[in-house]
Each structure stands twice: as C-alpha cells, then as structure tokens.
Symmetry: C2
Subunit: 427 residues, 2 copies
C-alpha cells in the first residue's frame, strides 16, 4: 500500500479525492498496489467540504503530513508562494516525492526544487500546473524529446479566454464580461493574476524551460494583461480578419529566448483563433515533428484533478517498483530571455486624432523617421471632429515603435493613443 | 555508451538516423550517455540511401543485430507482419528492448509481445505506430491515466484524409485524388491498407486497447474504407452541413466496446471537420479531463522519426539508470467488441429511384416496418426519369437498417442504393 498526504482540500484537492475514490480499483491495477490518502491539510477544520471525507483524515498541522513517516508522496494543492514553497522543500528533505499544480512555485523556484529533489532522490511532478487536464508537461519530457522545439504559442489562461470570447460574441465591454465570468465561477473574486497575465506567464515560463532546456527566469518574461482591451479593438480586429487572444509565446533563436504574454491579433482562420471559452491550447513547432496542437479544458476541479492524479499514479508506480523517473535537468542552461525592446513584431495601433488635414502626414513622417513601416491604414467615418485612425505596421523593433509613439503623442492633432496591440501573423 | 540496432533504413529508418545525428548532443544530455547506432539491417546493401551512412554499419543479416551482445535496443522499422514479428520476438528473447512503429504487428500481436517483454524484463515502445509525431500512446499511459476514457474519435490515416480533402476542395473523384496523392508521395504504390481502412483499424485497435485496458482483437473491429465515396456524396454532405471523414471510433459501454473504422458524416463546425490534408487528429473524452483534442502530421519521415527517436531516448535513459518503465498490462481484460449489427447510428442514404408516384411511400413503409425512423429527406431536381433520393435516419440499429435496405433493393421503382454512410452527430 502507498500512502499520500494532500496539502489543501479546495477546488483541485477535492477533485483529486473524488478521482482517487471513483477510480480506485483501476488505479490500484495501474500502480500495482493500493493508493490511500493518509492525511489532508486544511486551514479550517470546521469548513463544510465538497467531498465526503472521514473527519480523522483532516488536520491543520502540516507536520502531520510532511513529517509523517507513513507518507511517501505529498500532493501540494494549497497554492500561492508561501507557505507552499517551504512545505514542498521540507517534504523533499524528508524524502517524500512531490506532486503539485502550483505554477507560481514551479515557475519561480523550479530550479531549486528540482535540485533539492535530485539531492534527496525523490520525484517532483507538476502536470497540473499548466493547462489543467491537457497533457503537455510529460509530452515535452518524453514523446517530443527528440525535437528541438522552435516555438510555442499557448492560450494558457481560461479566465481571460472566456472574457475575450464573451466580449467578442456578446459585444460586451471588459468589465461586464469579467463580472459575468465571476458569476459563472470562471474568474476568481480577485482576478488580478489572471487578467494581468501573470498566471499565463508562470505557465509559459514552465513550458519554455522544459522545451528549451533552460531555467527561464519568470521576472524576465514580458507580461501584459487584457484589461485595456476595448470592444472597439475587438470589432476592428474582426473587420480586418483577426481575433484578439491573450497569447503566451516562447521562441528560441540564436540571439536568445523570446518569452512573453500579451494580447495579440491572431488571424481568424488560424486554429488558435477557434479556441473559445475556458478552453486552453498549446500550439508548438518542433524541428522533426512539425506542428502539434492540443486543446482541452485548462482549469477546473476535474480536469486539473485528472492531471494531478495522473502524476500521483506515475510516482506511486515508480515507488512501488523501486524506481525513480529521472528528469535530467543538470544540463539545463541559464535563462537568456531577450528584452522586449529588442523584439520585432507587427502592431495594430489605434489613435484618436483631430479631423484636420495634415494629421496623417505628421504621423507618417514620424513613423518613417523611426523605421516603422506601415502595412495598412484604416480611417473610419468622420461624423465628428474626433476620428479614429488605425494602422497595422510591418514588423518593427519595439524600441523603434515606442520612440515614434512618444513623439506622436506630442503632436497637436493627435488626441490620444488608444490601443497598441501586437499582431501575430506568422504563428 | 548505449548501442542500438535498427532494422530497416527506409522512410522512417532514415528519419531516425537523421534525428539521432542532428540532435546527438541534446540526446546525450537527456539520456546521460551517448546513443550510437551499431548496425542497420537492410534488404539490399547496394541501394542508394537517403542519408549518409558509413558502409560498415549496414548489414543484410538480422543476426548481426538481434544476436549482437553489444546492442541494448532494437528499433524495428521494416514494417509488415513477417519477418518483423519474428525479429521482435527473438530480440526480446535475447534481452533487448524494442522500439517500433509497426502498427500491424502491435495491433495483431501486442499481447504476446508485451508478455514476452515482461518475461524478459525488457521494454517495448511504439509511440510511432499511431498518428506519427502526435504524442498519444504515452499520454494514454500516463498523463491521462487517472481517467476512464469514454470515447475516442480519430482521423488516423493521412492518406485517406488527404484524398477526402482533395476530393472535397477540388471537386475531383476518388481515382483522380488517389493518383494525385500518389504523385505527391502521400499514398503508396499499393495504397490498399490505407484506403480500405486497415491502417486506421490497426491504430484504433492499439489506442482502444490502451484506453480501455483490454486486448482488443483487431479481427473484431469493423472496417470500411473510402473507395466507394462519391463526389456527389461529398457535395450532398456539404449541402446538409457535413464533411465526410474516415473516422476511427472507439467507445466503451456496459455492453462492450464499439470499435470501428468507416467514412462518416461529421458536422462541419466540429473541430474534427477542420482537420485537413495529411494531418491526423485524436479527439477523446475522459470522465475527469473532459474533451482533449490533439492534432499533428500523422506520417512522414521526420514526424514519425520524432516519435520513434523519443522512444529510443526514453528506453536508453531507463537502461542507463538501471530502470525499466513498467507498463502494467497484467490486469488488461480480453476483447469484447460488439458486433457492428448491434450498433446504433444515424445514416445518410442515397438511392436512385424512378421518377414515379408512390416510390417514396413504398420506401417509407419498409423503413417504418423495420424500426427505421427518418430525420430528413432530400429529393433533388427531377430533370430525367432517374432521380436521386436522399435520407438521413434517426439513430437505428444496423441490423434493422440492413433488413430494410435488403427489401428496398427489391422494389421495382428503386434502381440502385448508391450510398450508405454513417452520420456522427454526437461526437
Ligand atoms: N482551480 C483550478 O482550476 C486550478 C487549475 C490549475 C491549477 N490550479 C492550482 O492548484 C492549486 C490549488 O488551487 P485550488 O483552486 O484548489 O485552491 P483553493 O480552492 O483555494 O484551495 C486551497 C486549499 O488549501 C488550503 N490552504 C490554503 N492555505 C493553507 C495553509 N496555509 N495551511 C493549510 N491549508 C491551506 C485551503 O484550506 P481551507 O479549505 O480550510 O480554506 C483549501 O482547502 C493552486 O496552486 C492553483 O494555482 C488550480
Ligand atoms: N512511412 C511513414 O510515414 C510511417 C508512419 C508511421 C509508421 N510507419 C511504420 O514504420 C515502419 C517502416 O515504414 P517505412 O515507411 O519506413 O518503410 P519502407 O520505407 O518501406 O522501409 C523499409 C525498410 O526495411 C527494409 N526491409 C524490409 N523488409 C526487410 C527484410 N525482410 N529484411 C531486411 N530489411 C528489410 C528495407 O530495406 P531496403 O531499403 O534495402 O529495401 C527498407 O530499408 C512500418 O511499420 C510502417 O507502418 C511508417
């Protein structure tokens, strides 16, 4: 028999308990022995639980799990940075293997955690940390291992994808769609990590580290969220044959890694444009395999529980057979993310300008002087003295674009720079 | 150092050699030691090769590989049933782990091969046998292991998907599209295994065995190919909002397994309808994870080489760390595929009838008497005495449908039953 301790009995923890129970016979067959829950850590022993659970399994003392010599595997599902990180480290030091869905901790402290696990000859699995139930961590570690991954494009945050889909389909503004997502349970009460892009940034940090075999530093990843996306931008995008998505991007080149999270124009006939609602998607390109795209629900109790329980089964099987899955990270290189300033992209730009002759010429001159060349211009109906002026640029270095925008901002006939959104034409 | 022997240096074998060479440093890091090719078996030592290879590596004597005590891993890429199967068994008996892309041998003899491998404490990996570079075998074995898989729908044969896409886009008939596919290298000189559905049947046999943990008997899998698909059916499908795809289907129910390969109407807004050309796709539903869909190129030198080389890396890593990935197949049950007669499906039916009053009533009566209820009827323009009559049925047991069709065939005013194609509305 193999005993696990679970830290946290919230959304995902309850899912794991349900799956372990429902599929116990099947899991026993796969592992070769029974897998039982020895203890579950919670904050509040008195809270009503979503699953039926024997009272004596619950504890509010973490030592009951991480110092418990009966327990082989610690499943960390409390989330957040601390105390989760400390608990993981202590459990490893006590010889326990770890399964976690904590993208923040893996993205920030993965390197330390994996080293510690190596020193203590235990495993750390984190399939649930990226894209919920979608198999992506292990495929990068094994089925795709013969490839040099060249680029990854992900829709990795279900909350923002739901909001953008809702804004686009229902012609709602951001605030309304966010409220709607919260009412439906697709966004948290404090949605900042999702809508500001940090959640996706943790995930692309994890994926790019694995794909490019470097410990990508999450602080070097450029992050921009979706809260400034205007319904007008969504409609203009649509007119021009695009959909706006929050993309997590990671590309490998000889100059370094290009890793970033931001809203982007995606051509409407690209498969990524069709990923709607709370679905997640990973689209990658390997030198041998070519394009691979996978999609599934990226969050929620059962999908994430599926990934976490799969990790538990794998680790339990290995322990039961006296093995240890070796993840050779000793050859991983250090982070070398290129600063966003140096990245080249095509851009969508929306200005509000005065309806006066010469404004276009003024703007065009500044672009020309700063190496920004234009692919298309759209000037909307002129019913009032303030008119929207929309540009799509050719590929331009961000630094050059920003310099020109700083100058354009100061023009008398430019009222406001409303939107600056990257356009991803070559996914 | 780890030494491998490769049986076969054709399309896939050459791809594996290329990838091992190109990514050798990276593979060494992953495995923890160098992986080198000791010997390669070919039929014809004098043939020009697609890859540069030292002459002394080639042999036409299989014993140089399967009896070679320097070799730890045998990579079988000669294809076909014999001598591939014998070579695999002998290599296992000699203590060698196997990597293969041979779907025919795994589908037909998987059970015997896995038992033999267990007895000899070696591994057998076959990621390349299904859907080329698309990671699906390992995800079923690990990332999705906590699920009860309920159903799988696959587009698993690139040749037929290319032909159907080409027929549909270019309004060509089957023979022309097949010739085109052959000219482009997407279909073999003898395309029968692809176009008759057997290739897809081997693959769905492998997937359903893994997903449902039963040794599915490939002979119990219903198989129907695409060569009777008429351009007229493709156009009528389009008019009714469908696309015709060769689907490989596997469903699990309390009555048994429903495993089959046949052309099917797929609703045009379903993601499967958008998989075009030589792409493959696996769409599955698990009780915890919900829907997962993955797509990639399903064949070809490099995609398949990617999957085979990933398996080589995995096995080499395990051997180098004195481990052995345990695939617990001892609890797999026996095959219990339901006979196609008992399966219920909606059907598209196209008849050629005489333009005479009463024909519809005659047909409708027979359907009514045999429990076949109709969802829709389409009668095309009546410019000549022979008119096409098209029906979509509600869900009906195949036995009942076939009984009614046998009677309808005998009607005087029915000239011919042109097409009978299953409609998959509830994917
Ligand atoms: N929710 C998803 O769909 C999803 C998807 C992918 C990944 N994840 C990741 O999975 C992890 C868990 O997320 P979740 O949504 O399940 O969180 P949650 O619903 O907020 O649950 C957290 C659980 O941890 C317990 N807990 C929190 N802090 C604790 C502490 N200091 N000491 C003891 N117990 C503590 C809570 O106890 P009480 O119940 O007593 O308050 C609660 O049971 C996070 O890392 C998250 O990023 C979640
Ligand atoms: N091609 C694909 O895209 C693809 C995709 C997925 C899976 N697969 C599977 O991969 C396997 C290999 O396919 P392939 O397309 O690479 O085949 P292939 O191009 O026909 O190559 C077969 C190779 O095996 C050698 N060979 C055949 N029979 C032999 C024998 N009896 N003794 C010694 N050597 C023999 C041939 O030698 P000579 O070169 O001297 O004739 C040739 O090098 C098959 O199981 C196939 O189903 C292929």
């Amino acid at each position: 028999m193999l005993r696990i301790g679970i830290l946290g009995l919230g959304t995902v923890g309850s899912g794991v308990v349900k799956i372990l129970e429902k599929n116990s016979e099947n899991i026993k067959n796969k592992v070769g022995t029974e897998v039982t829950i020895e203890k579950i850590l919670v904050n509040n022993l008195k809270k009503e639980r979503d699953v039926e659970i024997k009272k004596e399994l619950l504890t509010d003392k973490v030592e009951d799990i991480i110092n418990n010599s009966n327990i082989d595997i610690v499943v960390e599902l409390i989330g957040g940075e601390q105390p989760a990180y400390d608990y993981i480290i202590k459990a490893i030091e006590n010889g326990k293997s770890i399964v976690t869905a904590n993208k923040l901790v893996i993205a920030k402290y993965g390197k330390r955690i994996f080293r510690k696990a190596d020193e203590n000859d235990v495993q750390v699995c984190y399939e649930g940390s990226v894209a919920g139930g979608l198999p992506i961590i292990r495929p990068l570690q094994n089925s795709l291992a013969a490839n040099r991954i060249e680029k990854i494009y992900g829709i990795l945050n279900g909350t923002t994808n739901y909001i953008l889909t809702d804004m686009s389909k229902e012609k709602k503004d951001f605030a309304d769609s966010l409220k709607n997502a919260q009412a439906l349970g697709f966004a948290e009460a404090d949605p900042s990590s999702d809508i500001e892009g940090y959640d996706a940034a943790y995930k692309i940090t994890i994926l790019s580290s694995l794909a490019f075999e470097r410990f990508v530093d999450v602080n070097e990843v450029y992050v921009e969220g979706i809260k400034d996306i205007d319904i007008e931008d969504i409609e203009l995008a649509h007119e021009m044959g695009y959909v706006i998505k929050l993309l997590a991007i990671a590309k490998n080149s000889s100059e370094g890694l290009d890793v970033r999270v931001h809203p982007a124009f995606v051509p409407e006939d690209h498969p990524l444009a069709m990923i709607n609602g709370t679905y997640n998607c990973v689209y990658l390109h390997g030198d041998a395999v070519g394009q691979v795209m996978s999609t599934a629900r990226g969050a929620g109790q059962m999908p994430t529980g599926s990934a976490v329980t799969a990790d538990i089964i794998q680790v339990a099987k290995d322990i039961n057979h006296n093995q240890r899955e070796v993840q050779r990270m000793d050859s991983f290189l250090e982070s070398n993310v290129i600063k966003i300033d140096e990245i080249e992209n095509s851009f969508y730009l929306r200005f509000e300008v005065k309806d006066e002759p010469g404004v276009m010429a003024h703007i065009a001159k500044i672009f020309g002087d700063n190496n920004v060349s234009l692919a298309s211009v759209l000037q909307k109906q002129k019913e009032n003295p303030v008119v929207p002026l929309v540009f799509i640029t050719h590929s331009v270095r961000e630094k050059d674009l920003n310099q020109s925008l700083a100058k354009i901002k100061k023009l008398d006939d430019v009222i406001e720079i409303k939107s600056v959104i990257r356009v991803e034409n070559n996914i």
